[in-house]
């Protein structure tokens, strides 16, 4: 692909996210440098312009990052919902709550650029002050169950169904079952764990739209 401002090859592929609108920018290294410097200047001393995903690249994905580096990041996928970072960059919307854990490193500079902060200091849910990762595990389990059924692995599917029921019950009865959930529910996977550790059979390779549509039968 050519740079949008000259005939050189575009090596920087930037997705600008401005108040919900998505705009793609493809630039060669020279023009990218100017573009990103300009973006930083706008947000400089007197205040910030609209937050942009492009702005995120100005920080951690420094000018020295190559197309290959960006491509590797783009291929990272969520072990729960299966969305790739590339898909997020394209449509500006994340796939599930676990993406904030899975893509934490990639999102941190973006969020810092948008909000000028990287820590929540507002209200906290009384039932889940430490977070709801263990409930989000259901997103991956639905996908796994669908795959198990397709592969006719009914024992596995049944076990996943039981896990999903437990999560669903916890979700419906949150005011009644406080303090019991982490013990009674399967632990949520860590962001760094490979997909196969979750028994997803390679959720990272899943096609978009394949995200689980099966729940407790």
């Amino acid at each position: 692909m050519k740079c949008q401002q000259c005939d050189k090859s575009a090596v920087f592929h930037i997705t600008e996210l401005e108040e919900g609108d998505v705009r793609e920018v493809h630039l060669c290294e020279d023009h990218a440098r100017g573009y990103l410097t300009q973006s930083e200047g706008e947000g400089g001393e007197e205040g910030k312009e609209s937050p942009t995903v492009g702005g995120m690249l100005a920080g951690p994905l420094s000018i020295a990052k190559t197309a290959e580096d960006l491509s590797a990041i783009d291929q990272k996928a969520c072990t729960m919902c299966g969305i790739t970072f590339f898909e997020f960059r394209n449509n500006g919307r994340l796939g599930c709550p676990h993406d904030y854990v899975q893509f934490e490193k990639e999102l941190e500079p973006l969020i810092s650029n948008i909000h000028g902060a990287t820590e929540h200091v507002g209200r906290t849910p009384p039932s889940f002050p430490d977070g709801t990762e263990f409930l989000t595990a259901a997103v991956g389990k639905r996908r796994e169950m669908k795959e198990a059924i397709e592969c006719e692995e009914y024992e596995k599917a049944g076990s996943l169904r039981d896990d999903l029921r437990a999560i669903d019950e916890a979700a419906r009865g949150i005011s009644l079952s406080q303090g019991q959930r982490p013990q009674t529910l399967p632990a949520a996977p860590s962001a760094e764990a490979p997909a196969n550790d979750q028994g997803t059979g390679g959720a990272a390779d899943a096609e978009p739209g394949e995200a689980g549509n099966a729940t407790s039968p």
């Binding site: 996210l17 919900g20 609108d21 007197e46 205040g47 910030k48 312009e49 609209s50 937050p51 729960m80 919902c81 969305i83 449509n91 500006g92 919307r93 994340l94 796939g95 599930c96 709550p97 904030y100 854990v101 999102l107 969020i111 948008i114 909000h115 000028g116 902060a117 990287t118 820590e119 929540h120 200091v121 507002g122 209200r123 906290t124 849910p125 039932s127 889940f128 002050p129 430490d130 977070g131 709801t132 990762e133 409930l135 989000t136 595990a137 259901a138 997103v139 639905r142 999560i167 916890a170 979700a171 419906r172 949150i174 005011s175 739209g209 995200a211 689980g212 549509n213 099966a214 729940t215």
Partner: protein, 370 residues
């Protein structure tokens, strides 16, 4: 053709009752309501055990809608709300809810299972399966962000007792778009700033607002042009500050804008009263006599008339009248009031008829009344 045939009976009655009502926020009774039309606070929330809406399958969206509707029905907050299945509504009725600012345009145009729960005074609305699973909104008349925040906080607390909101210790409430993460709060005021527009100071004001991280939009939200000198000011960031700080960020700046607008109005009255009186009189003249008129032109003239009322140049018309006309002359409202579908040119004729009827009793120039 009467489109309402397409509706099931229950939804039909709910929409009809809204058509004939006037939302609290339109009444023009709140503090500073000569300049501040409305104060709005919204919270973005997601259910922890489902993918976000854009990633969810049709079945999952259906399950989220069913789950939230069920939990809402169990909650004390939900018992005071009327639920509308947006997916089953006719296009005109969905647009009607947009014009009433009870749902977003995106929610109206989306596909799949989705709904909205609304309170009788139209102050509270909860959209299910918009960009996030849940968008809670609270809207008050005039400058009352604290009141709107207090109300929405209680609704949120009540729902949080029965819905596991997606939450992360570091990132806060997790949202589909990172621009909303953290508190998930958007605090906004709708301002009527005709004098700043006429005196060409509006761009300068907006540049100043951008510098303190506040966003400016037109009357109907994202991406729209400001029509009739109505502007929405809102916070851009949602993380790293408490909800109260973010409410304060917007509410602190509004009195300054009110002061600028008042000064500009005083200046206009002092320096060019004849010119302003002429503009206001022409505006009401067109609204009183036009045979066909677009929504955009109507809004421009109603904006001038609204300013005329506030400057004492027009009698017998109230701010509340103008606020209601601003909404009822929108395309879907006209069709609902008329009880039939109308194409664009028929709507322009119907709009002109509706306005003539409203102004026919000689409401108008204050100098005539003296």
């Amino acid at each position: 053709m009467d489109h309402q045939d397409a509706l099931d009976g229950e939804e039909h009655v709910k929409i009809d009752s809204l058509t004939n009502a006037v939302g609290e926020w339109l009444k023009g009774t709140g503090p500073e309501s000569d300049i501040v039309m409305s104060s709005r606070v919204r919270l973005a929330r997601n259910v922890a055990h489902f993918p976000f809406v854009s990633r969810a399958t049709e079945q999952e969206r259906g399950e989220v809608e069913e789950f939230l509707r069920g939990q809402l029905a169990q909650s004390p907050a939900g018992k005071q709300l009327e639920y509308l299945n947006v997916g089953q509504l006719h296009e005109v009725d969905r647009l009607f809810l947009v014009e009433r600012q009870l749902i977003s345009r995106e929610h109206a145009e989306a596909e799949g299972a989705r709904g909205v729960a609304i309170d009788a005074g139209e102050q509270v609305s909860l959209m299910i399966n918009e960009e996030d699973h849940l968008r809670i909104q609270c809207m008050h008349s005039g400058l009352d962000l604290t009141g709107a925040w207090d109300q929405i906080r209680h609704v949120d607390d009540a729902l949080e007792a029965v819905v596991p909101y997606a939450f992360h210790r570091r990132w806060g409430y997790l949202t589909a778009c990172p621009t909303n993460v953290g508190t998930g709060i958007r605090v906004s005021v709708m301002l009527h700033l005709p004098a700043l527009v006429i005196t060409r100071q509006i761009d300068k004001v907006f540049r100043s607002l951008h510098k303190i991280s506040l966003a400016v939009r037109g009357l109907y939200g994202e991406g729209s042009q400001a029509l009739g000198d109505f502007y929405q000011i809102s916070n851009q960031t949602t993380l790293g500050k408490t909800e109260e700080e973010l409410v304060g960020q917007v509410s602190d700046v509004v009195p300054v804008l009110i002061e600028y607008e008042r000064r500009a109005r005083d200046f206009l009255v002092r320096e060019s009263q004849l010119n302003i009186h002429d503009q206001v009189s022409r505006a009401i003249g067109i609204l009183r006599t036009a045979q066909t008129i677009s929504a955009e032109e109507t809004m421009q003239h109603l904006s001038r008339v609204r300013m005329g009322v506030l400057l004492g140049l027009i009698s017998d018309v109230t701010i509340s009248d103008i606020n209601v006309l601003l909404v009822r002359t929108q395309p879907a409202h006209l069709q609902k009031l008329r009880g039939m579908e109308l194409d664009s040119s028929d709507r322009n004729i119907e709009r002109a008829r509706y306005l003539r009827q409203h102004f026919e009793n000689g409401e108008g120039d204050a100098s005539n009344a003296n």
